[in-house]
């Protein structure tokens, strides 16, 4: 009897404890109503592509707490599972972005001291900050991230913004805001051929030399540190955070991810890699046909840009013979650009895609164009999924739809890469995101991709921070824009051509049509007035364009809108 009482007592204690524990959870109210009822879902009777080339019809996928429990035609759905009817739906592994700038802001440049020596800046001033982590400047709540998730991306390697060696990347999952969403940090070292403004190194010449310098001295610093640790009577090593942050690269634990804009930059990155011997990832690759053998020889990981050039030679009704002859090679160059993905596939390079520099609206369109030009459907899907899982070293838990992998998937209304296919759900980290499926668009559909900003111009008002890149380095300033519609006003600041400091000018003819922004401003230089013409595209809070300076050519000018406090 005593024993039984004890048991009763024990069990009631357990029950009580359970209630207390449970009530603590339930005591928090959920006024938002956002908390999900269950973390267990099943999508029933769908067409599931578990990996490129492997599709099961009439299949069910079951996942719980962010983990896939079962995939197949014979899956038992337990009680308490939220069942989504998958009839006529197509499920693919969630996309993985090899290199992303979504949600990443550029840390502010340090103040220059009064006696600043531009020939010998500190590493931080010169854009050499390998110790930085992108996580310190990554806003997971940023619209750009939800836009890419809506396009099907569930995992991304976030690349830090900054100078020639900006810092370390991290792999994040596009899941719920309640998690840190970090899968791995310090996964690669970000580098680019970007000189620093008005100081050493200012051009690709200096950047190449400085990269060698940092690398070789990091090696020597590492040697010194090792000697000091195992011997006595030696001078202490100088702890230098730049060199220390290079050690994982020297040890080949992480690769250098080099942002490259053309084949010459690919060659420059590979030249450094050949000399110094680090592991390399080429990101934003576009022109590969002239460097394909060098890429293969270097064993570089290739992240292809999701951007494609526009067809500037589109058949014109009134095209003269002269026009056709003159633009024949432009057309040829355009057609060649479309074939780069297919060429990589043919050469057996398992490339992945990077969204960096791309627009969500163009992504599927561009992949379809690449497929029209020879890229196979399996390779296209692989470059969005398994290839990048492999490239990022996360293939153990991501990239395919199998039991035991993370519940990341894209649910579409028609087979992927077909004309009518739309994203209906994205499941990221086991969280289900629903998207409105639009009826088939009318022929003259004026689809608005900007979501909550139908007029577009309200997106514009605010303060924009711009950077313009020239072969000799980058320069920048602020654009302040106010008003809306046809009544837009603004000012722009820039480095004063008459000396040090900044100058300001009024922005003229500000026009925003279908996401294309254009304006002009005047600069007086050496008694001459120079008219600067800026044109480009706006997506959300990013402006990507070019400024043309009369006969001097045109240069990239990119801007990011500073967060508007009233939004918070």
């Amino acid at each position: 009897m005593k024993i039984s009482t004890k048991i009763k007592l024990l069990s009631s204690l357990i029950v009580a404890a359970f209630f207390i524990a449970n009530s603590q959870v339930q005591a928090q109210s959920d006024p938002s109503g956002n908390r999900r009822v269950t973390s267990s879902y099943a999508i029933k009777n769908a067409t599931i592509t578990t990996a490129p080339g492997n599709t099961i019809k009439g299949a069910t996928i079951l996942f719980k707490d962010g983990l896939i429990q079962a995939v197949g035609t014979n899956v038992n759905i337990p009680v308490g599972t939220d069942v989504i009817n998958g009839d006529s739906l197509f499920i693919y592994p969630g996309f993985i972005d090899g290199a992303s700038s979504a949600g990443v802001s550029r840390p502010a440049d340090p103040e220059r001291p009064a006696n600043f020596d531009s020939s010998n800046p500190t590493d931080e001033q010169a854009g050499i900050t390998p110790w930085r982590s992108v996580l310190d400047n990554l806003d997971m709540g940023n619209n750009a991230i939800s836009d890419w998730r809506k396009a099907g991306f569930t995992i991304a390697q976030a690349i830090p913004d900054g100078g020639m060696i900006a810092g370390k990347s991290a792999i994040v999952i596009y899941g719920s805001g309640e998690s840190t969403n970090i899968l791995a940090q310090n996964t690669a070292l970000s580098a680019r051929f970007r000189g620093s403004r008005g100081m050493y190194p200012g051009t690709p010449l200096g950047v190449m030399a400085k990269f060698r310098d940092v690398y070789k001295n990091a090696e020597l610093s590492s040697t010194h540190t090792r000697l000091f640790a195992s011997n006595s009577g030696l001078n202490r090593p100088e702890i230098n955070k730049t060199y220390q942050a290079m050690f994982p690269v020297l040890d080949k634990n992480i690769p250098v991810i080099f942002e490259v804009s053309n084949d010459l930059e690919i060659r420059r990155a590979l030249r450094l890699q050949k000399e110094l011997g680090f592991k390399i990832v080429l990101s934003g690759v576009t022109e590969v046909e002239n460097v394909i053998s060098e890429i293969k020889a270097s064993n570089a990981t290739v992240l292809l840009a999701l951007t494609l050039p526009e067809d500037k030679t589109k058949a014109k009704e009134d095209a003269t013979d002269e026009y056709v002859a003159r633009t024949a090679r432009v057309k040829e160059a355009y057609e060649k650009a479309l074939k780069q993905a297919a060429l990589l596939e043919k050469e057996g390079i398992k490339f992945g895609f990077t969204t960096s520099g791309a627009k969500t609206g163009d992504m599927m369109k561009n992949i379809k164009i690449m497929m029209d030009n020879g890229l196979s459907e399996n390779a296209a899907l692989a470059s969005l999924t398994v290839n990048n899982a492999q490239n990022l070293g996360i293939q153990k838990f991501a990239g395919t739809l199998e039991k035991g992998k993370l519940a990341n998937m894209v649910v579409m209304t028609a087979p992927i890469f077909t004309e009518d296919s739309q994203v209906k759900h994205v499941i990221a980290d086991g969280y289900v995101y629903d998207y409105e499926v639009k009826p088939k668009r009318a022929a003259n559909g004026n689809g608005n991709k900007n979501g909550g900003n139908p007029s577009g111009s309200s997106v514009l008002a605010g303060t924009w921070e711009y950077v313009s890149d020239t072969p000799a380095g980058s320069s920048g300033g602020l654009m302040k824009i106010e008003g809306s519609g046809s009544n837009l006003k603004g000012t722009i600041t820039f480095d004063d051509p008459a000396g040090n400091g900044t100058a300001q000018a009024d922005m003229k003819d500000i026009k925003l049509v279908d996401g294309n922004l254009s304006f002009t401003f005047d600069v007086s230089a050496g008694g001459m007035d120079l008219n600067v013409d800026v044109k480009g595209d706006i997506t959300d809070d990013k402006f990507t364009g070019r400024m043309s300076l009369g006969n001097f050519g045109s240069f990239p000018l990119n801007a990011t809108k500073k967060p508007n406090n009233s939004n918070f």
Partner: protein, 460 residues
């Protein structure tokens, strides 16, 4: 008709296929030409047999099997023209951010797609010395290029046999960029000299530090600590050790003489002065202590330090036994350096061989490659130009240009569009009205200050 035209256009594109992969070497037999050897006089009605990129034989009545034969009767053959001071085919020219940037390498930024290479070939130029700009007292390491236009790989253009060279600059450019522009040394000509001397002295210390370390490494059981690596100082050490030839941008006699003295103090003999408008005032010193002077035929007065100039400069230097060359420093002048050389016959009455040497064997000597190129001799590399008319005549027109025996230019096969790379983004590529692309101060004022302090100033 429309269709036919585009087919023709497409055909033209396909016919001219760029050569790919390994550096090509060609074989060719040029018959019955007037051969201007430059070093061994003029040979009338003579044949040149090229095998595998090398001049095999020069003589009369030569024959060869399975080799393209070109009848050059009534035409002139001269050695490929060499430009000792050029900025063609470079993506960046000036790392104008520090007074000494000897660590930067022009080899890193060679652009094999630059149409300027083809234009140079059309003017008979087979080798150019792709230099850093003149913004810094000690600029970057240059690269000697062979104009093997058609390759996509910058390294195919490198003349790998050529010794290392480096750019120095005196006078107004470095003082303006650093002193006036950024308020750091050098602000005056004295400052330029101090920057160079300090650089060499630091390099001596640097060399010693590494020598001490390396000898300590050899001792058994020793654990010496490695010093810091500095490519900037290491390059200066290599100059002091005679491994690198200095090519120094300069105008005034005083600064030229001052640098000669600096070099003598440090035991440096491998130095060539470039531009050297006042070189005629220090010709004996240039002859005794340097590898010569590379001048303009008659450019002058584009800034204050270039006012005291004469078109007789090249002739005076030549008559004083200075190894003298005429360079372009320009993507335009490079197309007719033979005219520039001919000006010395109007201003100075130089002989044909003396005038031709200014653009062939003499620049070859200044680049340290005269044992391989610069004249038509058996055993030398077959860089050759066939001219209609004597190259020093105003009526001269280059017909064919060969590099390593491979024909890269032929006036009869000179398509309208010789670009290697065409942008998919521009139906009309921007044309720059001002030839500001290929000169010494490229990138400095305009790019550096972004919106240009002196956009419209001349800038050599």
């Amino acid at each position: 008709m429309k269709k036919l035209n585009s087919i023709i256009a497409a055909f033209l594109v396909i016919v001219w296929m760029p050569t790919m992969g390994q550096t090509q070497k060609g074989s060719v037999l040029i018959k019955n030409a007037t051969v201007l050897t430059v070093t061994q006089g003029t040979l009338e009605d003579t044949d040149i047999l090229v095998e595998n990129g090398i001049i095999k034989r020069i003589g009369k009545g030569l024959s060869a099997n399975n080799v393209t034969t070109i009848d050059a009767k009534g035409k002139y053959v001269m050695p490929g023209i060499i430009d000792a001071h050029s900025h063609v085919a470079l993506d960046a020219v000036n790392e104008a951010t520090a007074p000494i940037t000897s660590e930067v390498q022009m080899a890193d930024v060679v652009d094999p797609y630059d149409i300027g290479l083809y234009r140079a070939l059309a003017g008979g130029v087979t080798i150019s010395h792709a230099m850093h700009g003149s913004a810094n007292a000690i600029g970057g390491q240059n690269i000697t290029l062979k104009h093997r236009y058609g390759t996509f790989d910058p390294e195919d253009l490198f003349m790998k046999e050529a010794p290392r060279t480096i750019k120095f600059a005196l006078g107004e450019n470095p003082t303006r960029v650093h002193g006036r522009g950024k308020n750091i040394q050098p602000r005056t000509r004295m400052g330029v000299e101090a920057v160079i001397r300090n650089g060499f002295n630091e390099a001596l210390q640097y060399k010693k530090t590494w020598e001490t370390y390396n000898s300590a490494l050899k001792q058994k059981g020793a654990t010496p600590i490695p010093p810091k690596y500095d490519e900037r100082l290491q390059t200066l050490v290599d100059i002091l050790d005679g491994k690198v030839i200095i090519h120094c941008h300069s105008y005034r006699a005083d600064e030229i003489y001052a640098l000669i003295n600096t070099c003598r103090d440090f035991g440096i003999t491998n130095i060539v002065f470039s531009h050297v408008n006042e070189g005629f005032k220090v010709a004996p010193e240039l002859a005794e202590y340097t590898m010569g002077a590379s001048v303009f035929a008659d450019w002058w007065a584009y800034k204050f330090e270039v006012y005291y100039s004469t078109a007789y400069n090249a002739a005076i230097l030549t008559e004083n036994n200075v190894i003298t060359s005429i360079n372009s420093d320009s993507g335009e002048l490079i197309r007719h350096l033979y005219h520039e050389a001919a000006k010395t016959q109007r201003y100075g009455q130089l002989s044909d061989d003396q005038a031709l040497a200014l653009i062939t064997i003499n620049p070859a000597k200044q680049l340290g490659i005269s044992d391989k190129v610069g004249s038509i001799e058996e055993g030398k590399q077959a860089d050759l130009v066939i001219f209609e008319g004597h190259p020093l005549s105003v009526y001269a027109i280059p017909q064919m240009t060969f590099v390593d025996g491979v024909k890269y230019f032929d006036i009869n096969d000179d398509q309208d569009d010789m670009r290697l790379r065409v942008s998919a983004n521009e139906t009309v590529e921007p044309i720059f009205l001002k030839e500001h692309d290929h000169n010494c101060m490229h990138g400095v004022d305009f790019f550096f200050n972004n919106f240009g302090r002196s956009l419209f100033q001349h800038s050599h």
